[in-house]
């Protein structure tokens, strides 16, 4: 056993923090607090992306998830305020069933994880990651069609959400 390296310490600390904040997202009562714990979780995952030599993905994670999605969720919480804040049960009657299903799922997937040994390959992506990512997104032999489909899907989602959220169309 070699000595514990800095990367391992960072991984353990960040992983524990991320699991704790994730648990808080699911359990905490106040919705705004849940959204803020979600931001903490997303940030922890960004740190783990950095540990995985994916610095660009970490940047995208922070800009897109924390900058856009988490803020959208906070707005939605504010728009649907004073609902189910402190009154009534926060979980449905079948909570034990849901917990059992999740536990069984976790047991199955961790059995799978520990039984498989992946072949040891020469790791680490070489060269300029951002350049390679950009190239393969516009390369006709690689990912240009999913890229275009994704852009069309974003436009459709944009129009759809505006249409859905327009006020005063139906009787309210």
């Amino acid at each position: 056993m070699e000595a514990v390296s800095a990367a391992q310490i960072i991984f353990i600390v960040v992983a524990l923090l991320t699991v704790a904040t994730t648990f808080l997202v699911v359990t905490v009562r106040n919705l705004i607090h849940a959204a803020l714990w979600l931001v903490a979780t997303l940030f922890g995952i960004a740190v783990i992306f950095v540990l995985l030599d994916a610095g660009f993905m970490a940047t995208v994670q922070i800009v897109l998830y924390i900058g856009a999605i988490a803020i959208l969720i906070v707005f939605a919480v504010m728009l649907t305020r004073r609902v189910m804040q402190d009154v009534g049960p926060q979980s449905n009657e079948n909570w034990w069933l849901g917990t059992i299903v999740a536990a069984v799922f976790f047991a199955a997937i961790s059995t799978l994880l520990w039984s498989i040994r992946w072949p040891a390959l020469p790791g680490a992506v070489v060269g300029d990651t951002v350049l390679a990512l950009g190239r393969s997104l516009v390369d006709p032999n690689q990912y240009v069609i999913p890229f275009e489909v994704a852009s069309v899907m974003l436009i459709i989602a944009l129009i759809g959400s505006i249409t859905l959220a327009l006020p005063g169309k139906q009787s309210e």
């Binding site: 390296s5 990367a7 992983a15 699991v19 994730t22 997202v25 699911v26 919705l31 849940a34 979780t41 997303l42 995952i45 783990i48 992306f49 995985l52 030599d53 994916a54 660009f56 993905m57 995208v60 994670q61 897109l64 998830y65 999605i69 959208l72 969720i73 707005f75 939605a76 919480v77 728009l79 649907t80 609902v83 189910m84 049960p89 926060q90 449905n92 079948n94 909570w95 849901g98 917990t99 299903v101 999740a102 799922f105 976790f106 997937i109 994880l113 390959l121 680490a124 992506v125 070489v126 990651t129 990512l133 990912y143 994704a150 899907m153 974003l154 989602a157 759809g160 959400s161 859905l164």
Partner: protein, 100 residues
């Protein structure tokens, strides 16, 4: 160097907590946050495999997952706001009618 299995184990833990959130909570917004957690844990697994196998395909898949997540959040939150406007509640147990 940290073994890939550890990253995958972390991903599995986060995904399972997300599953609990979706199955157990009644508030639609918390369910949304749990879905985001599950998508993020899948992203973590993708990036871990991308490093393990030394290719960029996993990271590109993360791009597309993020795109889908953004679209899903936009449409889903618009739906939640619309449901809240008509029913004054975002309890998923109360939303059991397509019309009315």
């Amino acid at each position: 160097m940290i073994p890939t299995t550890y990253y995958l184990a972390l991903s599995a833990i986060l995904f399972s907590i997300g599953v609990i959130g979706v199955l157990v909570r009644r508030n639609a917004i918390v369910i949304f946050m749990s879905i985001e957690l599950m998508l993020n844990s899948a992203n973590l697994a993708f990036v871990a495999f991308a490093r393990e196998f030394g290719t960029l395909d996993g990271q590109l898949m993360v791009f597309f997952v993020m795109t889908v997540a953004a679209a899903e959040v936009a449409v889903g939150l618009a739906l939640i706001v619309a449901i809240f406007r008509s029913k004054a509640s975002i309890d998923v147990d109360a939303v059991n009618l397509l019309k009315g």
